[in-house]
């Protein structure tokens, strides 16, 4: 197994882990968004969706453990890469300008990543680790978003997630070697569309719930 650890410990190996786990989170976000959109169909549709999801039982637990494991890998390798990159240039330039390659997403990747981590913890405390025996999930969600502070925090968080994904999505393709001059513009375009869909899709839910009450 030495060969395996040599590979994943290398700079490219760590990046591969970022890419694979990151792309998995993109798939998760898609599923999460599709599920959440049932809110627009009303209280019952959303509660039924939640019940169906929870009826999966061990399958859901396995998925949750998988996501947690991926999150640990993503955060750990991201942190190691960030520290490595920080030390790779001990003396900074007095003046450094971009040649046009960097984007808002790529520039802020480690910082948006850190905020996303904080948000995920906050989000799980809000909606996951709560007593669901006494109240339906719709009630929990609508109570939370009755508070404008929560609405603001969630919208801000979704903008940060969208910025993170706008670079992460296409970057993952490049890292796993899926770069072709013919298809790369499509991948980069998809990254923008996907991050917009995530940002707008999730971001409008708190506003909708706030005004529905």
């Amino acid at each position: 197994m030495n060969w395996f650890f040599d590979i994943i410990r290398s700079s490219i190996g760590k990046k591969m882990m970022m890419a694979v786990t990151g792309l998995s989170f993109c798939i998760f976000l898609t599923g999460h968004l599709i599920g959440n959109l049932t809110i627009y169909k009303g209280k019952d549709a959303f509660n039924t969706y939640a019940e169906k999801l929870h009826s999966l039982g061990p399958l859901l637990t396995a998925a949750e453990i998988g996501l947690l494991l991926f999150a640990v890998v993503h955060v750990l390798s991201g942190t190691l890469l960030f520290i490595g990159n920080f030390y790779a240039r001990p003396q900074r330039y007095v003046i450094k300008k971009s040649a046009g390659g960097r984007t808002v997403g790529s520039r802020t990747m480690p910082y948006t990543g850190f905020f996303v981590l904080l948000f995920v913890v906050f989000h799980l405390i809000n909606f996951h680790f709560v007593d669901k025996t006494q109240q339906t999930i719709y009630l929990i969600v609508s109570n939370a978003f009755a508070d404008p502070v929560y609405v603001f925090v969630y919208i801000a968080a979704m903008i940060i997630v969208a910025v993170h994904v706008s670079h992460g999505f296409w970057s993952a393709f490049q890292t796993v070697g899926a770069n072709h001059p013919k298809y790369m513009p499509i991948v980069r375009g998809t990254a923008i569309c996907f991050s917009l869909a995530i940002g707008v899709g999730f971001g409008f839910l708190p506003i909708y719930i706030f005004y529905m009450q």
């Binding site: 060969w3 590979i7 290398s10 700079s11 490219i12 190996g13 760590k14 990046k15 591969m16 890469l81 490595g84 990159n85 030390y87 790779a88 240039r89 001990p90 003396q91 900074r92 330039y93 007095v94 003046i95 450094k96 300008k97 971009s98 040649a99 046009g100 390659g101 960097r102 790529s106 520039r107 990747m109 670079h167 296409w170 970057s171 490049q174 890292t175 796993v176 070697g177 899926a178 770069n179 072709h180 001059p181 790369m184």
Partner: protein, 255 residues
């Protein structure tokens, strides 16, 4: 010889990184570069400034240079925060003063990265790139009789791609311009150059593993796909070569 009417000369203020040795603290010093012909190259402008400094009995600015034709990869500095200056696909020696205006202030700094040590002023030790080449950037072909031309059928398109990668002159601008000081474009170009050619395939696995290992050991940063390297490369080498390096590394590591 009559003097051309449109002959232009400009006056500049230079802020140049001066550092007397590798482990000494450096800083920006201000110099005046007067009456600089816009036909001069950036290095010729530095020559003029150095002549002035020598006459004044001061230490001239040390900078790397060799062919001054844009093909050797020896020159290079950060000009106003851009590797090899603001022009696209240009080495510092091919950057001409016509791209600057009268009374401009130009900040000149050396490549900065943990893997590149500053020798003096703008001169930088880039032997880390040589160490990567020594690790595997070659073909250990046994020299026999010269093979027949076209003995190995090989598509022109792949030959062109290999040639595009081989255009790398190893100047280090990719490392200098990368926000993470990563050498992935350099290694990507060198690995691609061989990986695309039939002569390079037999040692492809060994090569990519050894070169990436050496790159990590040398203290370069990690690529985060900022694509600044591609934008600053004087030979305009594409990041598709980095993707190919990633593919080659995956193949070599897991297959």
């Amino acid at each position: 010889m009559s003097e051309s009417k449109d002959k232009k000369a400009i006056n500049l203020t230079l802020k140049v990184w001066r550092q007397i040795g590798p482990d000494v603290k450096g800083s920006l010093e201000t110099y005046h570069a007067g009456d600089i012909s816009t036909d001069m190259s950036f290095l010729e402008m530095l020559d003029v400034v150095n002549e002035g400094l020598i006459i004044e009995g001061k230490e001239p600015i040390a900078f790397d240079h060799d062919c001054r034709e844009g093909i050797c990869g020896m020159c290079g500095a950060m000009v106003n925060g851009r590797a090899h200056g603001p022009e696209k696909g240009t080495t510092l020696c091919q950057l001409h003063m016509r791209h600057f205006s009268d009374n401009d202030t130009i900040v000149i700094e050396p490549w900065k990265s943990r893997a590149f040590k500053i020798i003096k002023d703008l001169a930088v030790d880039r032997s880390a790139l040589d160490l990567i080449i020594q690790a595997g950037g070659y073909i250990s072909a046994n020299a026999g009789g010269a093979p027949d031309g076209n003995a190995i059928p090989f598509p022109q398109e792949s030959a062109e791609k290999a040639m595009d990668a081989a255009a790398c002159i190893g100047c280090g601008a990719c490392v200098a311009s990368c926000p993470n000081a990563s050498a992935m474009l350099f290694v990507g170009a060198k690995v691609s150059h061989f990986a695309l050619l039939p002569q390079g395939r037999p040692e492809a696995v060994k090569r990519v593993l050894a070169m990436v290992k050496k790159m990590d050991e040398c203290g370069f940063g990690n690529c985060t796909n900022e694509t600044e390297c591609e934008a600053e490369c004087p030979k305009e080498i594409s990041i598709t070569n980095i993707a190919r390096l990633n593919r080659e590394y995956l193949k070599a590591g897991f297959l």
